[in-house]
Point group: C2
Chain length 274, copies 2
């Protein structure tokens, strides 16, 4: 008996989740992936919990109907605002990015003081603060709404971006948090700014990218779901990647490659209303 090669569904409001898919491909290369980017309705980061939950549940169902046996909510805003709703609506296991991110921060920090940067919606939800406080850590969350548009403008090494990052991080590390030793990137766009953020944060700060920790959490879940058979030839083939986008597929191909770090071929347009 050969074990069926797993199909993992990855969901994001747009392109950012591709940084999580990139990490997944490194950690779990012996799986197939279906990715859903809700590019017609992005960004989620400035929207309300009701709207984000509705959109995310629609996307989750779409991925399930396309064979996903597990769902990765590779969007901090959707995880922070709607993980419970998505988990309740889905028929397969669901993994978000908040818990793995908090877990990685807990494993990294020495002085138990964490700064979390993310979108307005993620920060307002306080999902990270709750997850960190549950681990006995002290957290300060800081919304950085300009960083996503700066990444999308391609200004990932621009002096203006550095200045804006200095303003945001200056506020985040002010007062009682000046000695915080760990910073969580609670937005999947931010890994593209990691070199710049490393330059701007105090030297003693370690940056945690939840993409990597999420990929490890998914690998653990998967092992429980579909135990690996090292000898199965089916599991050793290259991953098949299929992408769905609600806005232009040409733009998804073009911008997405920057986040995934490889070319994107098989993109299909989806209209969720039909």
């Amino acid at each position: 008996m050969t074990i069926r090669r797993p199909t993992i569904g990855v969901f994001d409001s747009g392109f950012g989740g591709l940084t999580v898919l990139k990490a997944l491909l490194e950690v779990i290369p012996d799986a197939d992936y279906v990715y859903f980017g809700d590019t017609a309705r992005l960004p989620y980061g400035s929207k309300s919990v009701e709207t984000v939950a509705k959109y995310a549940v629609e996307a989750a169902h779409y991925l399930e109907s396309n064979g996903a046996q597990m769902l990765v909510i590779a969007c901090n805003t959707a995880t922070a605002l709607a993980l419970d709703r998505i988990t309740a609506a889905a028929h397969v296991p669901v993994v978000g990015v908040v818990e793995p991110g908090a877990e990685a921060a807990a494993a990294t920090t020495k002085n138990r003081k964490i700064v979390v940067i993310g979108t307005e919606a993620t920060v307002s939800s306080h999902a990270y603060r709750r997850a960190l406080e549950a681990r006995g850590l002290e957290a300060r969350e800081k919304a950085c709404p300009l960083l996503v548009p700066l990444v999308e403008e391609g200004w990932v090494e621009h002096p203006v971006t550095e200045q804006i990052a200095r303003i945001y991080l200056g506020e985040a590390f002010a007062d009682s948090f000046h000695e915080a030793d760990t910073m969580v990137l609670a937005c999947t766009h931010y890994p593209l700014l990691k070199p710049l953020l490393q330059l701007v944060t105090p030297d003693h700060v370690c940056i945690v990218d939840s993409a990597d920790s999420t990929a490890c959490a998914v690998a653990t879940h998967l092992q429980q779901l579909l135990p690996r058979t090292e000898t199965s030839p089916e599991r050793r083939a290259s991953p098949r990647l299929k992408f769905f986008a609600t806005d232009s597929t040409e733009k998804f191909r073009r911008l997405g490659a920057r986040f995934l770090g490889r070319t994107i071929d098989d993109v299909q347009h989806v209209d969720l209303k039909e």
Copy 2:
């Protein structure tokens, strides 16, 4: 016989169209207004023509079903990408912002060289260039994707915004356009940056805000549609304003007041899918 007090429908992807509504209230105070902000799906500026057209037609129908006797597409991206589709789908007259903006630029320029700044989608559509070239003017369009998030962050007088504006306008007014004497604000968010943009543009440049010219165009159309009776007491009452938003009404009230310059009371949440 008294002439019925007109109801004007105003549509935008979000809050920016409120700058057009503000201008309308000054020019046509003797009308009622229904405003639709598609805040759950904003911004339109980075989306494709198909997606923007679909959303805009849905919004137009919603405003018609709420009594609009005329539609003002107070969104440069929707006008640039989908005015034809909206006009074909609507049952009432439709006025966009591009033609009035181009008309105002033509009336302002002396050396017939115009710089147009707007979102990525508005610029890619070349709707302004076509409208200006049809009037014998030379146009350079420049996308400024960071300006909308900067306005929404409230950094309308921030040194970083000034720096970013200097970068964008430096490119816009480079080479053969250094002597352009008119700049069109082809995005309804930009009027909030007008003082800063005035500081950054060369002294000889006159800034044209299409909100004002659109309000005048609407007044002209309205006069043809429903001739004014100066003596009608119905026409002299204060305007009734009703707002619809597809995302959080609380956020619409809060952010919207900044664009409209007055408090916003009657906001109703709309879910276009239902």
